[in-house]
Symmetry: C2
Subunit: 483 residues, 2 copies
Amino acid sequence: MIPNWLLQRAYLTPNRIALSFGDEQWTFQQLKEEAISIASKLRSIDLQEGDRIALLGASSPEMVFMIHGCLVAGLEIVMLNNRLTTEEIAWQLTDSEAKVWIIADEFQNLTAQNENAFMTFSMIQTLPIKESHFTEYWEPSRTITIMYTSGTTGFPKGVRQTADNHTSSALSSVLNLGLDENDCWLCTMPLFHISGFSILVRSVLYGMEVRLYEKFDAQSIAEEICRGTVTRISVVATGLQRILSEMEKVDSVADPMFRTVLAGGGPIPNDYLERSTLRQLPVLQTYGMTETSSQTATLSAEDALRKSGSAGKPLFFNRIKIADGKRAGEIGEVLVAGPHVTPGYIGHASSKSSLVDGWLQTGDLGYIDDEGYLYIVDRRSDLIISGGENIYPAEIENILASHPRVLEAGVCGQEDKEWGSVPVAFVVVDTDLSAEELDEFCRHRLASYKVPKRFYFVKQLPRNASNKLLRRTLKTWLDSDEK
Amino acid sequence: MIPNWLLQRAYLTPNRIALSFGDEQWTFQQLKEEAISIASKLRSIDLQEGDRIALLGASSPEMVFMIHGCLVAGLEIVMLNNRLTTEEIAWQLTDSEAKVWIIADEFQNLTAQNENAFMTFSMIQTLPIKESHFTEYWEPSRTITIMYTSGTTGFPKGVRQTADNHTSSALSSVLNLGLDENDCWLCTMPLFHISGFSILVRSVLYGMEVRLYEKFDAQSIAEEICRGTVTRISVVATGLQRILSEMEKVDSVADPMFRTVLAGGGPIPNDYLERSTLRQLPVLQTYGMTETSSQTATLSAEDALRKSGSAGKPLFFNRIKIADGKRAGEIGEVLVAGPHVTPGYIGHASSKSSLVDGWLQTGDLGYIDDEGYLYIVDRRSDLIISGGENIYPAEIENILASHPRVLEAGVCGQEDKEWGSVPVAFVVVDTDLSAEELDEFCRHRLASYKVPKRFYFVKQLPRNASNKLLRRTLKTWLDSDEK
């Protein structure tokens, strides 16, 4: 049994700071009171333990209260990406069968062309309080969150993350990173991503402050790191780069109390690591995904340069191996096991098993060196990682192919200085069609970060004998004149 | 599944220091090599996974190697108290049905009048190595250790401590105490007690150095605390007192790197706490027992004086309540639940359930105050805690009653400046019998710390209507003239 996180934490350390945002802060006791108030109001509209709701909002204290309110109430939360289009949201709402869609007031426009039942944060605040008893202990296998991630087919799958998944992840992490009573984790990662949500989980398990940012403010973040008002931060490569630039501008270094930059969402360029060393910024590269409730492996700061490019070793309770019994140095599919791995999906993908013989098949290619360090050499299913967001080519290709004048389309990632990678599209059309028209078409149907940054019109797409699209050949076209 | 602790730890951080003893030290890789060597030799005498052995030794590096060797080999270890008499040991060996009794060479004399099969450490070192594969992952429910603890009946019961019990205990503790990569835990507690053994478990889970002492050397310990060469220590009250005296002698204070004195095995006098504050020694009082694989509740250092006498709040994954739905401040039996609680006993007590409705009935009386802090007001079953060792009056009474000229006997604890408490006996005899004769009789049958320090000859013992011995009345006799 796992304690209802916030209830137990508020009992143990009621007066510690749980959350800060700008000049405001809340203790665990205050956070609990906010959460219980929301949970009691949700009971008044008959949301009972185990019911599923969908939640959409920005990184605000109200969003954190709402998340904890739903958790205390024992609801399963579908965490919706607030950058999705109304069409994409509608799809996930339908697939998840969420009983109610809870949405932050500032996103209410997203409900306009949507037929799903919704309630804004302020509508919930006006509900009557229904005095309720909230379960103090959870079954480890109960679903806490559901996060959608696209797969090779282009249809997003709702990944279940259980109480045990989240808890194990936080515990494995603490054995690797350590824990100090003065720790404070700066959160600029989206809360609807596992990278951000897992910070909230660590907060309640560790009794640790979360310093929440609504937006990525590089200058302000750099200042906090140098003052030591925060001790940990999670970033993607582009975020690290922007923080470094700010520190370099004023020639500052990290405060000695600052302990960890947890850098995920794709590889970190060597140049950033060297610049981090100069700024006394300990960068730990990590490898994780939605299906593993955050980190599976993490490279320690002392190994950052010696093992540059590596995602490190698994956290204590996790296991990693390369498929087909590959030996040290041989490349194969990366397989993952451990208490942090999802038991499976919901909705249309619910019958799909997430595991084969107990192992999660990541689709990523990698190898383990002779010292046991993991290297990822190619991302799963031609995945494009753009500023930490996962983009699956198939999803964009499906949209493009639905245009009446597009015969076929292929998407791949193109290197980008700011975002690491951006999607670009190769299209075969039957009549004249402009890039502007295609862009416009996509913007209505895809979150803006998924809209191809460039459209290349070609006569045909590279396919293999069984007619499978060769996306890697598309990549080589980017470097040649064939496009 | 839980990783085979040492194998996983040596994979993750092979070069960190695992153990030091005097001027010697071993990395996790070296510790693993010692353990694998022993495990491979044990396989040669057909000790297979799940087999049960008994282990007796002092706090030496060889003992740590042997413990880890048995753990790597997947054996269940009966941890024998090396202060027991040959009779007590024989009883536990028989009850546990241990396949082999492994004993440190310096204790070989204990095997003289014992018919159980044994092997000394040096005999094991001469065994041939049998190349073996060791299971890398354990079922959480598998038994790791068995520790005997006496109960109300006076017959010691072998308590099972599973992989999950030990692991949960270490994880709960880290959420409370924090963890730093420079942490080093000084171990002077016996390794056959959960207080000492749990330090070894934390070491492999945390990747933390254990600084092992064979004996309690107060001066040397005080010096290490003041130099900051260790950061944590577990003590009982009498140990804390001796450390404080050493620090006071030279008017020293703890190094700022030193973080925790974990003080268990009974209440800590207020005077010690005040003296600790002066020495900048953060003392955390804790409440635990063999059945809970170390700490159930721990009082934080900042609450040490404000909540003096309290055992604090439960660790994150644990639960405590007072029986019969007692409200804040009302005294009742302390009940404990959580992943750290034993699933039960072995041997003669194996059919006894350790839990009632999922709760361990500690037998201790206590209350929880209105802020949720636990106070123990009376120890279970008239338990006598003497220098951290648990002594059950019934066990001594059984021995005394077996003397042909003793009609009946009652034992209780008497306050003692050095040990906290010592056992004293009230006996009714049919003819003249001297205290010396009784002392001699006990010494052959009981570990010396259990031998009553004083014998009072009385006409009859205090009993209630149903003839139950009233040990608490004995205690009042100690303060009066009735004895």
